[in-house]
Assembly symmetry: C2
Homo-oligomer: 164 residues x 2
């Protein structure tokens, strides 16, 4: 799992050329750094990845949602959800609860231990997240989050963007 950065060798920094001005480049690097930070602080101890953690939060905050809804929320294929839900269920954190009104569907929700575990992890994650952004003050952090949201939120946007 651990992406485990490169060798400890101190290397002369490379020239980046035009990428130095590309937002996507910095975004990617920051995300990789964040992932590693999370892996270090959380995954190692709890055996949970950022992705799993996100799923868990989604289920905890939206009890009873279906796997399809979860897939939409996580923006992945329905089939990808199956494995993840399997994992979380094996760990005893969530359960697939048969929907009484639609026999095709499961309602996902947390188990008691799942809730406990999430509470604990959540704490660690919050601390980890703060540590990761330690070089930003509160205002900067908030601004950064706002900017990021604007990048990915579909909202008010080029309306005539023919989607098919």
């Amino acid at each position: 799992m651990q992406p485990q950065g490169a060798t400890p060798v101190r290397q002369a920094a490379l020239v980046h050329g035009p990428m130095a001005d590309e937002l996507g480049f910095h975004l990617r690097r920051a995300q990789i750094a964040a992932f590693r930070h999370f892996a270090h602080a959380i995954s190692a101890a709890e055996g949970i990845t950022p992705g799993l953690y996100g799923m868990l939060q989604a289920i905890a905050n939206n009890p009873g949602l279906s796997q399809s809804a979860l897939a939409v929320a996580m923006d992945v294929d329905r089939s990808s959800i199956v494995k993840v839900v399997d994992q979380l269920e094996e760990k005893g954190l969530i359960v697939r609860d048969a929907s009484p009104t639609d026999r095709r569907r499961y309602r996902l929700h947390m188990t008691v231990t799942g809730t406990q575990v999430l509470d604990r992890i959540e704490d660690a994650v919050m601390r980890q997240d703060r540590a990761f952004s330690a070089r930003l003050d509160e205002a900067e952090r908030a601004t950064l989050i706002d900017f990021l949201k604007r990048l990915y939120q579909p909202d008010s946007e080029p309306p005539t963007l023919a989607r098919e």
Copy 2:
């Protein structure tokens, strides 16, 4: 290709809970959005991913660097580099040039067509990147990049690098 997010169904947005204040969460989403945007605009047409593009820029801007140095720069395992360099070489974009002073080592550099292709792609990438960040003005964009750098850059500061 179409990662095409969600079904066209308008879904009630999920509650995010404490993740709404987690930087890592927004970072991940923004990065995924950026990747998809790139895939749409560039990969489909040029058959090149953000990762490959980054490698290409690294080589173009640091001609003669070794595969190991590239691995360090890209922060991946040496063995991962092999396949990537294979791909770029197969596409005729770069060459492995045997080092005359160290027979273990290759010096990577662009071919003529590689340079041409990169120039073309670079243009598209710059436009794509601007389009992606269209909801930020110039100042905001610059601020965002600065914040991101602060997140991923190792200890305070680049020593004495006069390049750039």
